[in-house]
Point group: C2
């Protein structure tokens, strides 16, 4: 079985979205698969004193510009959503529920949900909207609504978020290659180099 790399992301994160479009091909080039690890970055902010980028004076305006500029350079569609950021429990729970169906299904759902929010401006914080997107890739809409409200899945997301923070995750995206941590879409070239060389 192929070794994995772990990809942590918040569905409210444009940089997480950008990286999500690259990470599978990048991993595959080096014989790896991706573990999909959605989390709630707001919980990490309570540890680091961070806050959502749009709310930070100066940095908020710059970040918006940088997100759009980076997306254009990468050739990836991105429209900063009208409601930004959002709470991302609904889509994150769906991804953990899909764990038993395999990484390819989690990838498909991640990409559909990110695209709904980051390209089509759909507010996936709403369980109904997340269920609509899930239905569009062939999942059972009613089942998805039950999953989003399921105490066991809620607990799973809580635990995964806590475990991520314990591991040092404080931003999105956050990638581990054999326990080496990389923060940010702009570290993908270093991730690739690390996969090639085993480190430097």
């Amino acid at each position: 079985m192929a070794k994995t790399i772990q990809f942590y992301y918040d569905f409210a994160s444009p940089y997480g979205y950008l990286a999500s479009t690259q990470i599978v091909a990048l991993a595959a080039k080096h014989g790896r698969t991706v573990e999909w690890k959605p989390m709630l970055i707001g919980v990490a902010f309570k540890v680091t004193g961070g806050m959502p980028l749009p709310n930070v004076p100066l940095k908020g305006d710059y970040s918006r510009r940088d997100m759009e500029r980076s997306a254009r350079l990468m050739g990836i569609p991105l429209k900063i959503p009208s409601k930004f950021p959002i709470s991302s429990q609904s889509p994150a729970r769906v991804i953990y529920w899909l764990e038993s169906q395999g990484a390819a299904r989690q990838e498909e759902a991640t990409k559909a949900l990110y695209r709904a929010y980051m390209v089509d401006d759909k507010d996936i914080s709403s369980p109904d909207v997340t269920a609509d997107v899930a239905a569009s890739i062939g999942l059972d809409r009613q089942k998805v609504l039950e999953v989003i409200a399921d105490p066991a899945i809620k607990e799973k997301l809580r635990q995964e978020t806590e475990a991520a923070i314990q591991r040092g995750v404080f931003g999105s995206p956050f990638i581990f290659v054999d326990d080496e941590p990389f923060w940010g879409c702009d570290r993908l070239p270093q991730v690739e180099r690390w996969l090639q060389t085993g480190g430097w």
Copy 2:
């Protein structure tokens, strides 16, 4: 006369140091020269609510690792100083005093001062240490001490720092190419691309 790009940096910033070793060659490849704009990033933190990286839980540890890892990948010597960060008024004032002697002299002094702090672990927050480093590149040690204490030079650094923040600078390094803002050593590839293409 060649068009300039503006390079804003804090002498306490390892990422500013890393970028300072690359920016002149990068600009020159595209027919540009560099304006050296040291500033006090702590003043911007009062606007953004930011704080020195080493003090931020999780992010502090990661950043240290990332700084060292990025330096190794770039082939640039870096030893995170034992006193880190520091107040960087002394070296910053010297750079503004050198403005009348031209950008090449400012570059030489910037590189010598960064190297003293980021490689040789010399605490350049001390006027005496900064004066020693300045003397090592042929400046008058006593004159440099007077410059560091000169009210007009102090005021110049205050004004430059305020003007930088007005322009949107909140981190180090921060680079403007024809008013397009780029934050971070990791944006140098985008800076280069912007210089090549005029934007995208």
